[in-house]
């Protein structure tokens, strides 16, 4: 009973549906001649000879460079995890316990060490799925998702991730294994994972993304991944930045604990004048500057500090705030995302 064992989450803290259109199914059924044909070794119970081993090796070494270029390290204030870019615009898939909240600021580190600003989008807290958006302009290297859910039990797979955190001299670490268990919400493989791999990608031999690393058991053989259908089922909500589910992988933000990070005083002519902007806080990240006058907060005209505090009390971490500002006589609108107090 492997499910009765304690499962360790893999994010490190430096101290560690198938909405498959039938049309598509039919297409894959007839695409055996395409370059992404299913390697025959997957349909053998076990490799039988050197040729079988070399077929696995050739497929893996062929798929690896592209897979690796899209695999990233995610650095946050309290630790690091991994992720994988799935669009040229810089959409990243990762685990919910890595982002741990929506609209959170983080840094994406590419394989070559390039650091990019990013923000978490939505997550599914009971299935350990999350999305992140790189905020710089692409195009970025990316991988394709196995949207048709073609992976079968026993298929040869490989995992990538920044085990133990980003290490430029080492690069991301690749591990081989087979898909050894398929359950509704979980893939299990014998690719060994460790802290820092959380959110990293699991690929089939063609380099298609099939899962995201989530957690491990005490035994080396127990390594769990979130299958792609969990992401595909929730895709739009994830992209919109919604917090889905009530599970253990991320805690739903509490109302009233949202934090904007600026001090204000009322202005005679109406609005609030900003007297101080907290360093690296939501207001500063949104572009608010000392001396700005805030006229409207999410469309509500502001006349007193209490009024803004009352509005904040009804909001929580990750919520979006549109500030209509007057700066040097010109109006502008700034977007801020509340952080946790």
């Amino acid at each position: 009973m492997e499910y009765s064992i304690h499962i360790l989450i893999l994010k490190i803290l430096m101290k560690p549906f198938l909405i498959v259109l039938s049309v598509l199914l039919v297409m894959t059924g007839h695409s055996s001649a395409a370059p992404d044909a299913r390697p025959y070794v997957n349909d053998k119970k076990a490799p039988e000879n050197r040729k079988d081993l070399e077929v696995i090796q050739a497929a893996l070494t062929h798929s690896l460079p592209k897979a690796r270029s899209a695999t990233v390290c995610l650095e946050m204030a309290d630790g690091s995890g991994s992720g994988v870019i799935v669009s040229p615009e810089g959409l990243v898939l990762t685990a919910a316990h890595v982002t741990a909240g929506i609209n959170r600021k983080m840094t994406v580190i590419l394989e070559d060490g390039t650091k990019l600003p990013a923000r978490s989008l939505g997550l599914v807290s009971d299935k350990d799925a999350a999305m992140v958006q790189i905020l710089d302009k692409g195009p970025f290297p990316y991988v394709e998702i196995d949207k048709n859910n073609t992976t079968l039990l026993g298929d040869w797979v490989f995992s990538l991730g920044h085990s133990g955190g980003y290490d430029k001299e080492r690069g991301s670490v690749v591990r081989i294994g087979r898909l050894v268990r398929i359950a509704n919400m979980t893939f299990q493989s014998d690719c060994t994972l460790i802290g820092g791999d959380s959110g990293g990608p699991l690929f089939d031999l063609n380099g298609k993304l099939i899962g995201i690393h989530s957690r491990v058991g005490q035994q080396l053989q127990v390594n769990m991944h979130v299958p792609m259908h969990v992401y595909l089922e929730n895709w739009d909500a994830l992209q919109k930045g919604e917090f889905l589910g009530d599970g253990d992988f991320a805690k739903r933000p509490e109302k009233g604990k949202g934090f904007l990070g600026m001090a204000t005083e009322p202005r005679k002519e109406g609005g609030l004048r900003v007297t101080k902007v907290g360093k690296s806080g939501p207001a500063e990240d949104g572009g608010v500057k000392d001396g700005d006058v805030v006229l409207k907060f999410n469309g509500t005209k502001l006349d007193s500090r209490e009024q803004m505090q009352d509005l904040l009390k009804e909001m929580s971490e990750g919520d979006k705030v549109l500030l209509e500002i007057l700066r040097g006589g010109s109006p502008l609108t700034l977007t801020c995302y509340l952080s946790a107090r």
């Binding site: 499910y3 009765s4 304690h6 499962i7 360790l8 989450i9 994010k11 803290l13 101290k15 560690p16 119970k45 076990a46 490799p47 050197r50 079988d52 081993l53 070399e54 090796q57 893996l60 070494t61 690896l64 630790g79 316990h97 039990l153 026993g154 490989f158 085990s163 133990g164 001299e169 080492r170 690069g171 991301s172 670490v173 690749v174 591990r175 081989i176 294994g177 087979r178 898909l179 050894v180 268990r181 398929i182 359950a183 509704n184 919400m185 979980t186 014998d190 690719c191 060994t192 994972l193 460790i194 802290g195 791999d197 957690r215 491990v216 005490q218 080396l220 053989q221 599970g247 253990d248």
Partner: protein, 335 residues
């Protein structure tokens, strides 16, 4: 962030969909009997040219047969304290194995057994193979047969700096404003050299040192396995000794971080190597010391450290050949 969660909720959920859950029989998994059978050619090489290192009847590691007359390389730190070292090659157990000489930098020992007609490994031309290339090494073993485990080259070859920097294995009194020793680590170079609590360090490699910062300055570019001349004062007498340097994090028994806790048994000496290749072979620390083979059955490296759950290190064949030649040429290796 909580360290662990129970999977109870998932368990209940799955119970309702038992039919949807599929599981691969263990013999077809990566380390399973049926899967490793494809590597029978390479297993034959392990059978004849890898060595099982034993202390009494306990397996403590593996080794590489490098000559037909009984010279074997192994991981030094795993065998050095063995009271009753013997070596099994193929189906024969050789008692009275002697450790002739140790390369402290690489943690490699040259061991001699009285044997003839052994089959030494054949070295691969290069360790520079693409990541994703199959590699094979010793798995569990029985008295008569070697088993194997397979994996792939999994990251860039590189130096592994000494974890926490190198040190003598001492704790200083106070904040290090003087160099008075408050504690000497159990298996440290300082202990081996005879340093004691209450001693004052006076010079390091001939340089006068007064504070921990002075000492750190002398040590900063040194490597694990190097020796340093230390003069210390006990009562009114000054003595000079050679102290072996090692990774600071490995000399005191730390609790380990969370990644260590999920890694099972890892090698005590797992850092401070000039260059390693990395692979993902699943296993425990006692599989270290043996050969890493490619699909041609050639020795592409020597397993030197199980660093953690997901990372194993091997000495690349180019370095291994040099180490072997130097050890064989050293005075200690002469019969």
């Amino acid at each position: 962030m909580r360290a662990e969660i129970s999977f109870l909720a998932g368990c209940l959920l799955f119970a309702g969909h038992a039919a949807a859950q599929q599981s691969l029989e263990s013999e077809y998994r990566l380390a399973g009997n049926q899967t490793v059978m494809a590597f029978e050619e390479q297993r034959q090489v392990l059978q004849t040219s890898s060595a099982v290192m034993l202390n009494g009847r306990k397996e403590i590691g593996y080794g590489i047969v490098i000559s037909n007359d009984g010279y074997v390389l192994t991981k030094a730190s795993e065998v050095i304290t063995a009271a009753d070292l013997s070596v099994t090659v193929d189906r024969t157990n050789y008692t009275g194995a002697r450790i002739l000489v140790v390369d402290q930098t690489w943690d490699v020992a040259l061991v001699k057994i009285e044997a003839s007609g052994l089959v030494p490994v054949v070295y691969a031309e290069t360790s520079s193979v693409p990541q994703g290339t199959w590699v094979v090494s010793n798995g569990a073993t029985s008295r008569l047969a070697r088993r194997l485990l397979a994996g792939i080259v999994s990251a860039k070859s590189r130096e592994i700096p000494a974890s926490g920097g190198v040190g003598l294995g001492i704790v200083l009194k106070g904040e290090g404003e003087t160099l008075e020793i408050a504690e000497v680590g159990d298996k440290s170079g300082a202990m081996e050299a005879g340093l004691q609590k209450g001693d004052f360090i006076v010079t390091a490699d001939g340089k006068k040192v007064e504070t921990s910062a002075d000492l750190a300055d002398v040590l900063k570019d040194r490597k694990a396995g190097n020796r340093i001349k230390i003069t210390y004062r006990r009562k009114d007498e000054e003595t000079t000794v050679d102290v072996l340097l090692a990774a600071r994090a490995e000399m005191f028994h730390d609790e380990g971080n969370r990644n260590d806790q999920m890694s099972g048994d890892f090698s005590q000496r797992r850092s401070g190597f000039p260059r390693v290749m990395q692979h993902d072979i699943l296993g425990n620390k006692s599989i270290m010391g043996g050969p890493l083979l490619d699909l041609n059955g050639k020795c592409i490296g020597m397993n030197i450290a199980r660093a953690n759950r997901a990372e194993s290190f091997a000495i690349p064949v180019e370095d291994l050949k040099r180490i072997a030649a130097a050890l064989m040429a050293s005075p200690g290796a002469k019969p």
